[in-house]
Symmetry: C2
Subunit: 450 residues, 2 copies
């Protein structure tokens, strides 16, 4: 049996009770984190422009968009949900393959649940979580197979694998048979796209949104027997060989149904690219421990994992979005503000002369001995003194996960930018209680502007 | 100035009168060929399923779909036009880069022209052709830069470059400025997708259709200043480096505005993959010259360009679509039927025992000395005699182009499958006369079912 068919069969045959309870619990944490991001990003310019441009083209307004007052068809809702939930770069990450896994899958699923409100089409909380867990697993396993060559080549792995995850999740709710699920993966492969050259622009968050929309479309077409190639992943012109100079297909099926990828998920304490998190964390701790004032600093030297400079080597910033990918900005906000919330990545923060001055005093050097969770910081003060700080593991990674309470705080911090506090509290409660929901569409009702 | 910006500036600054008259004439030939394909493919199963599945999700029905009675929003119309016009594999081809260039560009443009019927949004024939010529040029030049590595890797180059062509053409009609056109190319790069693993399935024609739809969407978003990376083509994580192991960006700007890629276009005499055309042509000529009966044939040996076996090495066929990619089927239909029209690539033709028998008696060998336009045929007869035939240049290639009369015949042969003859004649006349049209939407009126 081909890898594509094995993966399809796993999704099709999985039963609600096959999934261990701890996986459902982790899925809830991922959903809470996702929903906070989706609400918190709902008013961003990328969302406003996308909605203004594309709402005139959407179909019947059956579906609510998270954090918004507008309605549209479920496919465009999947796109908009994806843009909003990714735009702040505050979403979850799989450190092992750099996928932001919940965006494409949950964006499609919430759109589906909002659109399907009648009879046996209604999605219960348990069904939603089951489909989410499977979509997440499909996406991450495909990512494992092609990482790192695929990512290093320049692919935005969140969108290129996310389209498979969304197809699997929606295909599960549509009750596709194995043959149809294989076609859904083929149609996903056909639409797998997104390049890292777009990082720092609105197009970045468009990519996982489009993956959600396209994965959803793939499942719909496959349900009607729209045919596709049957070796989407492993065929000589399939996804893995075409997009990765080296890959390991065994990683797709390794411990399939035994290990769930959700257990490797991480939630961001800071609203920016994951690889600069250790620097924010370390500099925040230096600020806390040493009480350094910005004007006393002569020079900041960072030793970071080489990928950090690969992704985040922008020192002179023009736009807010660019600040999310600047190791120099990360050091500055840690030392000056001691945090990396949404307000640290605005046009105002970019223009802040204190932050700008510290960015220009920061040097960063790639070092193969530093892992992606670590940073080594050396600060020279004008007094002649110096401070050395080595961070072993950054907050929010798998070893130092955010607690449920920290996830609540993050959720409230984001969501209150857009929704009233009493609605935020109700929505948060409904997300944690999803397993007992008999209609996830009603959770979406709590997630939109009145 | 970056390559992306040079290309954007060329499209934005091009004036109607900059384009030589012979290019407009060739554009008309491409449009006539395109329209015949779009009408001829409009009733195919891939179209029926796509329409059944996706019409419930489309927006305001402002736009007609070529060859159909249904209406939808222009973005989905671009998708449907693309599926219908490519599904028979009867469309044009650039032999130098294997792009089927008209599909993504014209599919988007006819959707745009049908949707925009009021005031200064109306598209005149001259404006339509101008945008078509520019979109075609953009798409082919990007293809030239990444071919052959990109295609050899497994990318369906028609869709991956077509999304740029559609973005350029629609962006021209929307009067984007240079900065916006750069973003449109960025959004196209973000959505560039399509893998050759899907060849032989419905997903194949979906790919250039989706490219038309996505390119159109890119231009709309860019018009509203939805930002994208500004080095879509040449940036280290841009289209060329990510999708091709070797590439030559100079080919994008070489003789820009002096040479137009349309002059290198070729129109297919046979309704199947281009690389098997020499074999159909040669075997048809053998049938004509020698009057060989199928039952007299013992063995057929072909020496073909290596790419032919790369693409078309299917000997046992199950589905009609597969027959379009079978060098064995090509030999059989040439020898038995002397042609390769739409009826030679049906389920009936696949099941025809005479054709099936000849397919099984055919051997094909790749030979580096044989070009893509050539074939060397050796036939052993049961009588002991043998026939040798070497074809130097296949009908329909740039050296032996179809005449306008042959294009008319092809158009009528296809279109009368779907539309009444009197309507076909009017539509054909209107296409040839496009330069004098003051509203291309009215040409689309002639191209739909009443």
């Amino acid at each position: 049996m081909s890898v594509t068919e094995q993966l399809a069969r796993f999704v099709v045959e999985s039963q609600l009770d096959d999934i261990p309870e701890n996986i459902y619990k982790e899925a809830l944490r991922a959903i809470v984190n996702y929903m906070g991001c989706a609400i918190g990003g709902a008013n961003e310019p990328a969302m406003e422009v996308a909605l203004d441009t594309l709402l005139p083209f959407t179909g019947k307004p059956s579906t609510q968009v998270l954090g918004r007052v507008e309605t549209c068809d479920p496919l465009y809702a999947a796109l908009f949900n994806g843009i909003g939930s990714h735009v702040h770069e505050y979403d979850d990450t799989l450190p092992k393959n750099y996928i932001h896994p919940s965006i494409p899958v949950a964006s499609a699923l919430f759109a589906y649940a909002s659109a399907n409100r009648d009879g046996n089409q209604i999605v219960t909380g348990k069904e939603f979580l089951h489909a989410f867990i499977l979509g997440f697993d499909v996406e991450s396993r495909i990512g494992n197979a092609v990482y790192p060559a695929h990512y290093d080549a320049g692919w935005h792995i969140t969108s290129t694998t996310g389209v498979f995850g969304a197809a699997a999740a929606i295909g599960k709710l549509l009750k596709l048979d194995v043959r149809q699920m294989v076609w859904a993966f083929g149609l996903a492969a056909t639409q797998a796209a997104g390049v890292r050259e777009m990082f720092g622009s609105m197009a970045k968050s468009f990519q996982p949104g489009r993956a959600a929309q396209n994965g959803y479309t793939s499942a719909l077409l496959a349900q009607r027997d729209f045919t596709a190639g049957e070796a989407a992943l492993e065929g000589p012109r399939g996804f893995a060989p075409v997009t990765a100079s080296s890959y390991d297909l065994d990683k797709i099926t390794y411990q399939l149904g035994e290990h769930y990828e959700l257990l490797d998920n991480a939630y961001k304490p800071y609203a920016c690219g994951l690889v600069v998190h250790p620097t924010i964390d370390a500099c925040s701790q230096i600020r806390e421990q040493y009480g350094v004032a910005p004007e006393d600093i002569k020079e900041i030297s960072l030793r970071v994992a080489p990928i950090v400079l690969d992704l985040c080597n922008k020192q002179e910033l023009k736009r807010a979005l660019q600040s999310k990918y600047s190791i120099y900005h990360a050091a500055a906000i840690g030392l000056v503000r001691g945090k990396g919330g949404l307000r640290e990545f605005t046009d105002e923060a970019v223009a802040d002369p204190v932050l700008s001055d510290l960015r220009s005093k920061t040097k960063a050097q790639g070092d193969e001995t530093i892992t992606g969770d670590q940073v080594d910081v050396n600060i020279k003060l004008k007094s002649g003194e110096s401070i050395h700080f080595f961070l072993e593991a950054s907050l929010g990674n798998v070893e130092r996960p955010l607690s449920n309470v920290q996830l609540d705080d993050k959720f409230i911090d984001q969501s209150t930018l857009v929704l009233p506090r009493d609605q935020v509290d109700k929505l948060l409660g409904a997300c944690w209680d999803m397993e007992s929901s008999d209609n996830v569409g009603q959770i979406v009702d709590l997630a939109v502007k009145k």
